[in-house]
C-alpha cells in the first residue's frame, strides 16, 4: 500500500527522472565554493568534460561559482522556456532541443557576436574570447548524471525531474514570502 502510494506520488523522484524533463536544481546555501580545496570541484569537472565532449576548441566550464560576502552561488543555465538567448542568437546556433526540452548550442554555427551573453538574465552564458564562442550549459542531457553534479560533494547541485524542480521552487518562493508560516518543507 505504502509502496503504491509512493509510486503514484507526483514528486516521486525516480519516476520523475524517468518520465519527465531533467533539470539541475541548485541549493546555494550548501555551496561553500570548495574554498578549502582551492578550486571549485564542479567547475573543474565541467571544464574537463566539455573538452572531451565538444573538442579542445570548445573547452571551458559551463558552470561558475560567484561569491559575495561569504555567500556562494552557482551560476548555471536555468533552461528558460522561450529562452532569451535563443531569440537573440543571430546564426541560429542555439535552439530548443524538442526531445530533452533543453536549450542547447551548435558550436559550429556560433560566430561570437555575444548577443546571447547580452541577453541572459542570469549571466550564465560566458564569452570565450580565445575560442571565440559563447559557452552555455547543455545539462549533459544525453549522458546520465552531469559531471558537475557528480563532482559536488556538498549537495549544492542535484539532478532532478521537472515536477520536483517546480515543486521545490514553488515551496522556496512561498517560503521566502511567507517564511514562518510554511513549515512543510522537507529537510534534505
Amino acid at each position: 500500500m505504502q509502496k503504491n502510494l509512493n509510486k503514484n506520488k507526483l514528486t516521486n523522484l525516480k519516476e520523475d527522472l524517468k518520465k519527465n524533463q531533467i533539470e539541475i536544481m541548485l541549493y546555494p546555501s550548501k555551496c561553500d565554493g570548495c574554498e578549502s580545496e582551492g578550486f571549485a570541484a564542479c567547475v573543474k569537472a565541467c571544464e574537463a568534460h566539455m573538452g572531451k565532449k565538444y573538442g579542445s576548441k570548445y573547452t571551458g566550464a559551463r558552470i561558475n561559482i560567484k561569491k559575495k560576502s561569504g555567500r556562494f552561488f552557482p551560476v548555471i543555465c536555468h533552461n528558460c522556456e522561450e529562452a532569451p538567448c535563443v531569440d537573440a542568437c543571430m546564426p541560429g546556433a542555439r535552439y530548443k532541443d524538442t526531445e530533452s526540452g533543453w536549450t542547447v548550442t551548435n558550436y559550429k554555427k556560433c560566430v561570437g557576436c555575444w548577443m546571447c551573453v547580452m541577453s541572459c538574465p542570469f549571466g550564465a552564458i560566458e564569452r570565450m574570447g580565445g575560442g571565440h564562442f559563447a559557452s552555455k550549459c547543455d545539462g549533459c542531457i544525453d549522458e546520465g548524471t552531469p559531471k558537475c553534479v557528480e563532482a559536488c560533494k556538498k549537495g549544492a547541485l542535484k539532478r532532478i525531474g521537472i515536477k520536483n524542480y517546480s515543486y521545490e521552487r514553488r515551496l522556496m518562493v512561498a517560503k521566502k514570502i511567507y517564511g514562518p508560516y510554511i513549515k512543510s518543507v522537507e529537510k534534505r
Binding site: 541549493y27 541560429g92 560566430v111 551573453v117 547580452m118 542570469f122 574570447g129
Partner: protein, 441 residues
Amino acid sequence: MKYVIIGNSYAGLSCADAIRRFDKSGDVVIISDENYRAYARPLISYYLEGKTTDETIWYKEDDYYEKNNFKVMLGKKVVSVDTVSKKVVLEDGAKLDYDKLFIGPGGTPFVPPTEGFNPDSPMMGTFTKFDDAKKMEKAAKFAKNKEAIVVGGGLIGLKASEGLRALGLHVTIVELLPRVLGLALDEISGNITSKRLNENGIDTATGETVTKINLDESGNPESVILKSGKVLKADIVVVGVGVRPNVGFLEGSGIKIDRGIIVDKTMMTSVKDVYAGGDAAVIYDILNKRPNIIAIVPLACEEGRVAGTNMAGVYREYPGGMGLNSVEIYGLPIVTIGLTNPANESQKVYMFQDENVYRKLVYDGEVLVGAILLGDIAGSGILSAVIRQGLKCFKYKDEFLNGNIYSFVIDSEFEIYNINEGYAVRGDFEDLPEFSRTNWR
C-alpha cells in the same frame, strides 16, 4: 485555417513556430523575395571573413520547413495586399488567399543621394543581403588598388568594413556623426573603438560625407570626393547608412503606416487579421516611452512569437521592447543597452575606465536606464534584464561599475533558493527585485 507569412527571416519564422505550437494542422505559407532558404542575415560580414560558410550560414536546420509542414515560396515578390477580399498578390500575378496574414518584410537599405552611385555596378552596392556579400567577395578580387570606401559608421558599416578588410582591402569608413556607432556609443567608447579599427587597417573619416563618386569609363568607381574636398581612391564603394521599413507594397491596403507599420499590443495592424512584426513594425519603446522602430534580432523574434500566438487564436500581449546591441570589433566586445547617452538632466551618468575596460551606467533616479560595456561584457545580460524590468538598483551602482554584476543575481536569487537556512526576513522582499524565470517576460 490558412496562414500567410510575408518575410522568411527572424520575425516570420518565429511567427510560424508560434503558430505551429498552437495549431498543428493549419496551412502555413511563407513567402520570400530571395532565392535562399532562411539564412542568418546579420552574418553576411562574417561570411566575408570566413567565420561562417555556405554550410553554416543557414538559420534553421535543413529539414526545417518539411518537418514543420510549412510551405515556402522563394523568389516571389509580394506587390500588394488586398485586405478587403483577403488576398496577397504576387509579382507574377498569382493570388494567395489568407485567413490570417503576418507581415515581416524587414528593411530596405537607405541610400542618401550621392552623385555617381549606381547599385547595379559590380563594384558598388549596399550591404544587407546574402547576394550583396557574394557580390563584394567577387568585387574584392577585381579591385586594382585594394581600396574600399564604406559610407556609414553604424553596425552595418562597421561589419561591412571588417568583412572587406578580411578580403585584403584597405578600408575607409566615412561617417557623418563625430564618431563610429554614433547613436549607441559616447565619445570615450567611440574613440576606443576607432583606435581599434585604425590599428587593424580601417581608417575612419568622421564628420564627413561622400558628395561625389568619380567613375571610370566602364561605370566603376575610381575615387570619391568628401565634403571637406578631400579625394580618396576607391575601387569599391559600399553604402551602409541604415535601413528603412520595406512597406512600399502596402500602399492602398488600408494598413496604417507611419514610418513603419503601426501595431497594437497584440501585434495586429489597423486591419483585422493582419499582423506585423520585425524591423518594419512600430512597437512601444519602454525606455523612451513612445512608439518606435527598434530593428534588432531579439525583438523581431519576440514580436513574431506574440503575433503568431495571437494568429493561432491564443491571446497574448507584447509589453514593448528596448534597443540593445552587441558587437565584437577585432577582439573588442561592445555591448550597448538602452539609453546610452542621457536624454535629459534628470539622468545621471557614472563611468569606470581602465586600460582595457570601459563601463558606463545611466541612471534615471534610482532606476538604471542604460549601459555601455566595453572590453569586459561578463554579466551584461543581467544589466539588460534589470533595465528592461525598470528595477531600482542604485545601491548596486559601484558593484556594477567594478564589474561585480553577478552580485545582483546572488542577492535576488539566493534568498529564493535558500531552502535550508533560516527564513527570509518578512518585508525584505519588497525591495528585492522580482527576478525569476517566470518574470522575465
